[in-house]
């Protein structure tokens, strides 16, 4: 039931936010607006047929902020359960450094599982913003290892 309600909340919020976005993006004053997602629908019409493009209320602003944290940022995650190493062997220099540029396919670290060394490769080119997980740390599947800012194409 609660999950169910949550789901409704999300869809409704989606509709609401979208309405806000439309008002922001669509040029000219609106008289009415109709949104429909499957069985979900939102219809609004404005008084004196005018929808002034106004700044969005704080509720949504915050939500955008929270997403803003990792805008343009890409996470490389652990491909399996194991132990994460930043370097090929103890004492050796790490595969990557923060600020350094990585190519797509470049190894950024290894996850060791059952004595097997599994190289972790970057799936895109960009700049290393942060090495999230420390050396020799146990990681779960999907755990964030490295953050990369994707290159502008």
């Amino acid at each position: 039931m609660t999950e169910h309600t949550d789901e409704r909340h999300t869809v409704l919020r989606l509709l609401r936010e979208e309405a806000g976005n439309i008002v922001k993006t669509v040029p000219g004053p609106l008289a009415s607006l109709s949104l429909r997602v499957g069985e979900w629908a939102l219809d609004i019409s404005w008084a004196h047929g005018t929808a002034p493009a106004a700044p969005l209320p704080p509720v949504m602003a915050t939500e955008e902020e929270t997403e803003a944290d990792d805008t343009g940022l890409h996470e490389i995650t652990a491909p399996l359960v194991g132990t994460f190493y930043v370097a090929p062997e103890p004492g050796a220099p790490p595969y990557i450094q923060v600020g350094e540029h990585v190519r797509a396919g470049q190894t950024v670290g290894i996850v060791e599982a059952m004595k097997l060394m599994n190289p972790v490769k970057s799936d895109l080119a960009g700049e290393v913003v942060e090495v999230v997980t420390g050396d020799a740390t146990p990681v779960e599947y999907g755990q964030a290892l490295v953050r990369i800012r994707a290159e502008e194409p």
Partner: protein
């Protein structure tokens, strides 16, 4: 020696059921889960949980490295495999041992032995168990297969030595068909089980599926906990199981128990296991195979005996003697398990995953429910469609049947797109042939107008 922490290498109702016994034993539990099960109840129920991989089982629940790593980092001493997934994988059991982890099940050697159906068949025949006329071990060529078939007579059934759960077994009515079936089964076996060996047996038409639950510890004690009848199957997928097997003469029942004990000793079994038999129309019983795992239907035996089978599995794995003796095993009344699957019988039993907007399990006298789900949960599309097991007990079979129907009628499960087998199960319980216990393994298929009970159905998960 006993365990302080166990990793449960499974999901859904069986993961939860194992964790329940662990909690009662004061043993900490570690759950492992795939991305699809992130919000599952068995995950929340465990003391710890490790995210081991994506939804596909071969990269999570069937992926030994992930499970071993999870066990080691959590400091678990033992791994309970449940049923399916890695539960009958001797290699996995070995890997556990290599990493100082106790695999809760028989030894890898025993698993290999019982996993080779052709071999265990020969072994137990030598031990005096009745087997069907068939090949002595695997048949290497189509020619040899035909030779054997001529000797034992058609129709025959071709079985993959490494097969299981009703997969890789197919009947052949004549020489021409046999050639085709041999080719197909060998190919499938190589592909699915990684072992192309097949063997032949005479085909028993419309048999009853009877199995005996047994327990063996590492101190030489072996005992049986009575039989179960699992004849209500759809394409070799069990739908309803009951204990004891109805209409079985006492002398046959006793004999089955003895066979189970003799067989378990012969292969050096330890832990909980099941010995499957076929019962033909003439009342003749023949040994089929040994299942080296806890089975989906184990609760009917638990309701009949009062023995917690998972508890005994853990005791045995910890090197403790069984908590009971054969004469303490009393079989009272009748127990019936109904498998409630999230499937649509009206649409070819298509799985119907989805969110459960309503979930109210049955209760009251004589009703046990084992489920991994509750209201608001999502049934993922990635695994078998078992939603809940409704198990009832009553003093008589007649009362158990009405109680099972009463419980199923109470079971409220709703969700967009979610259908269940509840209506079908209630229909089955009402069939005069079932009430009179005249049904065979062919019954459901005949009822659902599927006239090829032995047909393998690759779209269905293997049964446990």
């Amino acid at each position: 020696m006993s365990f302080s922490k166990i990793l449960i290498a499974n999901r859904g109702e069986i993961a939860l059921r194992i964790a329940r016994t662990c909690r009662e034993l004061g043993i900490e539990t570690v759950a492992v889960y795939s991305t699809a099960d992130r919000d599952a109840r068995f995950v929340a129920y465990a003391d710890e949980a490790v995210h081991i991989g994506p939804a596909p089982a071969k990269r999570s629940y069937r992926y030994p490295p992930a499970i071993i790593e999870a066990a080691l980092r959590a400091g678990a001493e033992a791994i309970h495999p449940g049923y399916g997934f890695l539960s009958e994988d001797a290699d996995f059991a070995r890997i556990c041992t290599d990493h100082g982890l106790v695999f809760i099940g028989p030894s890898p050697e025993v698993m290999e032995c019982v996993g080779d159906k052709a071999r265990v068949r020969a072994l137990l025949a030598a031990a005096g168990l009745p087997i069907l006329p068939g090949s002595d071990g695997p048949v290497a060529t189509p020619a040899e297969a035909e030779e054997v078939a001529e000797r034992i007579g058609y129709p025959v059934i071709v079985k993959a030595a490494a097969g299981g759960g009703g997969r890789g077994i197919e009947p052949a009515g004549d020489r021409a068909e046999l050639r085709e079936v041999y080719r197909r089964t060998t190919a499938l076996a190589r592909q699915v089980f990684g072992n192309g060996e097949v063997y032949l047996e005479r085909l028993v038409q419309a048999p009853r599926h009877v199995e005996v639950q047994f327990l063996a510890d590492t101190h030489g004690t072996v005992l049986h906990l009575g039989d179960r009848d699992c004849s209500l199957q759809r394409r070799n997928q069990k739908l309803v199981e009951e204990a004891p097997s109805p209409l079985l003469p006492d002398r046959v029942r006793e004999r089955l128990g003895e066979y189970a004990v003799v067989g378990a000793r012969r292969v050096g079994y330890t832990g909980a296991g099941t010995m499957e038999f076929l019962l033909d129309a003439a009342g003749e019983i023949t040994f089929m195979e040994i299942n080296a795992r806890i089975q989906v239907e184990h609760p009917v035996t638990e309701l009949l005996t009062g023995v917690d089978l998972v508890r005994e599995q853990i005791r045995v794995a910890a090197g403790e003697p069984l908590g009971i003796t054969q004469d303490q095993v009393a079989l009272t009344g009748t127990a019936i398990e109904c498998r409630v699957n999230a499937e649509d019988p009206s649409a070819g039993f298509r799985p119907t995953p989805g969110r459960l907007t309503s979930y109210h399990p049955p209760g009251g006298p004589g009703v046990r429910v084992d489920s991994g789900f509750g209201q608001g949960d999502v049934i993922p599309p990635d695994y078998d469609s078992l939603l809940a097991k409704v198990i009832v007990w009553a003093p008589t079979r007649e009362q158990a049947i009405v109680r099972a129907d009463r419980a199923l009628a109470e079971f409220a499960v709703e969700g967009p797109g979610v259908a269940t087998t509840i209506p079908l199960l209630r229909r089955l319980l009402a069939q005069p042939d079932f009430v009179a216990a005249r049904h065979s393994t062919a019954f459901v298929d005949a009822l659902t107008n599927e006239f090829n009970p032995m047909e393998k159905t690759s779209e269905r998960p293997a049964d446990h």
